[in-house]
Every structure is written in C-alpha cells, then in structure tokens.
C-alpha cells in the first residue's frame, strides 16, 4: 500500500471507491438489463427489476437492422487505422530521428492539427469531397480518418522512437542500412508497443466517430453503426430493449478491443500528449 492510513480512513477510502464504481457501472448495467427485458415488463415492473423472462428478440431485431452498418464500420475503420498508423509512424520517425530546419515548428504544426476543433474544417471538407466525387463513399471517410489520425499517431510514435538507443541505429547504419530500410527493418519492429497503442487508440476513435459520417455520407447503407443506432433509436422510440440491444452491439468491437488491450489504450492516451 502506498502511504500509511488508519483503519477508519481505509474503510472510508474503499466506500468512496465502491460508490464511484457504482456510478460508473450503473449506466451500462442498466443498458444490459433493459436489452434483455420486454417493453411490457419494463412498463409493468420497472426498468431495473429482475426480468420476468429473457427476451433475446431485441438482439435479433437489432442485428437484423444493424448488420449492414456494422460491416460498414469495419470497412471504414480497418483501412483507416492501418493507413493512419503507417503514415503517422513515418512522421514520427522523421520528427524523432532527423535533424533539419523547422523540425520543432513541424512538431507544433502536428500538435495544432491534433487540437483544433473538427468544426473548423467541416464545410471545406464537405465541398472538397463533393468536388473530388467521393462524397457519400467509404473512401471519403477512410481518407479523412487517416489524415486526422496523423497528428496523434505521429506524436505518440515520435515520443517512443526518440527513446530508441542510438547504438541500435548506429549499428544498422554501419551495416549499410539506408533510411528506408532503417525505418522498415529496424525502427518499426522496435516500436511494436507504441504501434499497438496507436492502433488500439485509432480503432476506438474511428469506430466511435459520428460527426465525419454525418457530414460526408448520406446513404443509409454505407453509414457506420454509430449513425445507424441514432437512426435506430428514432425508429424504435417505444421499444427500449431493441434500442438498448443496438447500442450494445455497436459498442462491442471497441469495448472488446479496450478490454484486451487496456494497458496499450492507457499508454496511447498519455503517450500522445506528453513530450
């Protein structure tokens, strides 16, 4: 235990921890309970009461209604994650390992890109997507997600790559490694941890996006599942279980990734903002 605490303080500490844990868990537990009840059950016996019968019909309805959009989410998210992590890693490599004029300014340039509100570019990107003929396509979302992933990935990777010991790079250069081989064969494999963190972070960010999809798509069938569940909730206003099941299905991919790679996720959140 860090620091010394009296018994009373210890009890108070755990009470506070548990109360806060209830606050954090109650919303998702409620959602799960709602999803397996019937609406009649909710209306007659209350929302949090024990289900009179297990209702999985809500999940069937939600899956039927959302499976196309789930697929869209994967089609958008997977290439965007890999593209943004790959090109972001290049920037991270250049910013951490090369000496050139304006290097610090360039770091600043990417920090600004990470911090500036998305609202600043909605209108121009809507017009650009239309002009390029990619409005309402997967490609528009993939390109935009990749571009907006560059700042956070490159800063995360820069902060990691700067810690790679010089000897490793010197040895590789003595062996005749050029810049490109150095990047692909030495730096990238060493940066596996940071690359994983960036991938996890980008997966959850991109999967969870709503605003880009709203601005850059119109067709219901190509929209990601985040947009679909909002529409779905409007459709099933009086059918809470189906709404809840839809929300759960839409959350599972990022939630599972988060659960498995919790430490990477945490490192990613911190890694991009430290210096």
């Amino acid at each position: 235990m860090r620091g010394s605490l009296f018994k009373k303080e210890y009890a108070a500490l755990y009470t506070a921890l548990i109360l806060l844990a209830i606050f954090m868990l109650l919303p998702t537990v409620s959602l799960t309970i709602i999803s397996i009840k019937t609406m009649q059950d909710i209306a007659f016996h209350g929302t949090l009461s024990k289900p009179t019968q297990l209702n999985l019909d809500s999940y069937v309805k939600a899956l039927n209604g959302l499976s196309g959009n789930l697929l869209s989410s994967f089609i958008i998210t997977i290439p965007s994650v890999f593209l943004s992590v790959f090109v972001g890693a290049i920037v991270g490599f250049i910013l951490s390992r090369f000496d050139f004029k304006l290097r610090n300014e360039m770091v600043l340039f990417f920090i600004l890109g990470m911090m500036i509100p998305q609202q600043m570019v909605l209108i121009p990107l809507y017009i650009i997507a239309n002009k390029l003929g990619i409005y309402d396509t997967y490609l528009a979302l993939i390109l935009v997600h990749s571009a907006y992933g560059i700042p956070i990935v490159s800063l995360l990777l820069r902060n990691f790559m700067i810690t790679i010991p010089d000897e490793i790079l010197e040895a590789a250069i003595l062996d005749g490694c050029g810049t490109i081989r150095l990047f692909f064969q030495i730096v990238l494999p060493i940066s596996k941890i940071a690359l994983t963190a960036a991938t996890i972070l980008q997966f959850t960010y991109i999967w969870n996006d709503l605003l880009w999809a709203l601005v850059l798509t119109r067709s219901i069938n190509i929209q990601p599942v985040t947009m679909a569940i909002v529409r779905f909730s409007g459709q099933y206003v009086v059918d809470w279980p189906t709404q809840a099941a839809g929300a759960i299905i839409a959350s599972l991919p990022p939630l599972i990734v988060f659960m498995i790679f919790q430490n990477y996720f945490e490192q990613g959140v911190i890694g991009a903002i430290k210096r």
Binding site: L26, F98, F110, M120, P124, I180
Partner: protein, 291 residues
C-alpha cells in the same frame, strides 16, 4: 543521435505530408476564407469582410450558445477534472483491487457518444427512466424529475452524461502523474508524520501541477468540440438551452446552409481553443511533462 535528412527521408515524408496538407491544413485555411464571405450551398459567393463575425456577435442565439459553452466548461471542471482527480488519488492509495477500479473508472472512454447518448436518455427519461426509478425506490420519489425536459436542468444533465465518459481521460492523465511521483517523497512525508491531507496538499498536488494543466487545457478543448452527445440527446433543445458553440456551428453550416456564418463561428471556436492550446504548449514544451 540525429540523422541527416536525405532524399529517401523526404520521399517517405512526402506521403503523410501530402495527405495532411490536403485534408487538414488546406481546409483550415480555406475555412478562414469562407468565414469572410456570404457563401451558401452552390458555392457562389462574394466577400463580405467581417460581416459574419459582427452578425454573430450581435445575435442572441450566438451569445446563448457561448453562455452554454461557458457552463459546459464549469461542468467539465467539476466532473471530468475534479472527479477524475479524486478517482486517481483514491486508486493510487490502494493496492488491492486497484486494477479493477482503474478499469471500471475509464472503460467509458472506449464507448462512442452515440451510445452514451442512448444510455443516458434511458437514465433521464421521466416515466421509466433509471434515475427516477432509483429515486422512487429509495423513498426520494419527490425528487423524480423530467431531467431533459426542464430548460434549466437539461444542459447540466447532458453535461454529466458526457462527463461520465470524459472523466476517464482525466483519470488516466492524473493517475499517470501520481505514479510518476517518486516514492521517496512520500516516504519522507511518512517519516515526518504528515497526515494524508498534509501529504496531498503540500507534497503531491504541487508535483501534479504539470499533469493538472495538461488535463485542464485538453479537457477545455474537448468542451469546445462538444457535438455528438447534443446531436444524440437533445438536438440543442429544449428551445436552445443545450445548444453549445460546437453544435451551433454544425447547425449553421448544415441545417441553415449558412456556410459563411458557420465558418465564422468555427473560427471563433478555434480562436478560443488556441488559448488552451497555448497553455498546453507552455507546459508541454517548457516544463517537460513526464508521465
């Protein structure tokens, strides 16, 4: 060791830089230009100077959105920052169960605001809503309330729903900051017989200053960007009581088709966020934040 930049390095850099310039930097600059025009759908426009800005600053709807954003700052100061700090301090004080509590405190950060909006709509709903049901169960039924329908409460209610997710971010930043404090400092305090309060007030909190400023700046920027949760839960209503700047910018551009006005509003949003970006950079570039 720093390498000399060569043709290969430039070639590598050309890919990301091109994407970044086309999709990030050019749109930012173009948006500034649009903010000085009367552009609407269709694209033809004339330059109107500062007219959009003057119009916005004189409109009660803009001032209302500004007021709501300032309120959102306060909500985010109390919940993500205040509660996130408290959670970090609590988890940092224990060994047993620390990993469990950590997971429970920051998993909502992996959920989308679309999902969080749906979850919290179930919580605030007046008739079957979770919050009112719990209040009735514990004998506080008189407090049951139509949370999202009352114009005086809705903004705070939505703000708390958003905070439930966002506090995970501040928790992680503060927790990392606490973990970075050398154990010797705490041991020294123990030997001197310092109470827990004294230890935190005079040793830990001062050392946490860089983490605090980082969390504060980024959380305020996140407050300025707020859009999704408003779109999912209230669409700015009832009336305009939950319309914040980030949401109003979208409405102007994509519902009123006032591109000039929407662009001007987003420039104002960006100018405000630059204040917080500057604060963050001051810490990040000068004081060496180490987590």
């Amino acid at each position: 060791m720093r390498l000399k930049i060569d043709l290969n390095a430039l070639m590598l850099l050309a890919i990301p830089l091109t994407i970044y310039l086309i999709f990030v930097i050019f749109p930012i600059l173009w948006n500034i230009v649009i903010s000085f025009t009367n552009m609407t759908v269709g694209g033809s426009y004339t330059f109107t100077g500062l007219e959009n800005y003057i119009r916005l600053l004189n409109s009660t709807r803009f001032l209302n959105a500004l007021k709501n954003t300032l309120m959102w700052f306060i909500i985010y100061l109390v919940f993500p920052i205040g509660l996130g700090l408290l959670m970090a301090i609590l988890v940092n004080s224990i060994n047993r169960g620390a990993n469990f509590f950590k997971l429970v405190y920051f998993y909502p950060l992996s959920l989308s605001f679309a999902v969080i909006g749906i979850i919290w709509s179930f919580i605030y709903e007046p008739t079957y809503g979770v919050l009112n049901e719990i209040l009735r169960k514990i004998g506080l039924g008189f407090l049951a309330y139509p949370w999202l329908i009352d114009p005086n409460i809705a903004l705070i209610a939505v703000g708390i729903a958003a905070s439930w997710r966002e506090l995970g971010f501040d928790f992680v930043v503060f927790f990392a900051g606490l973990r970075a404090i050398p154990q010797e400092y705490l041991d020294a305090a123990k030997v001197d017989g310092a109470s827990t309060f004294v230890k935190y007030r005079y040793i830990i909190l001062p050392l946490l200053k860089p983490a605090f400023i980082t969390a504060f700046a980024i959380t305020m920027i996140r407050a300025l960007k707020v859009f999704d949760i408003i779109y999912v839960m209230t669409r700015g209503g009832p009336g305009f009581t939950t319309e914040v700047l980030g949401y109003y910018a979208f409405v102007l551009a994509f519902e009123a088709f006032d591109y000039g006005g929407g662009a001007a509003l987003s420039v104002i949003l960006t100018l405000i966020s630059l204040l917080f970006i500057a604060l963050y950079l001051k810490i990040a570039l000068k004081e060496e934040v180490r987590y």
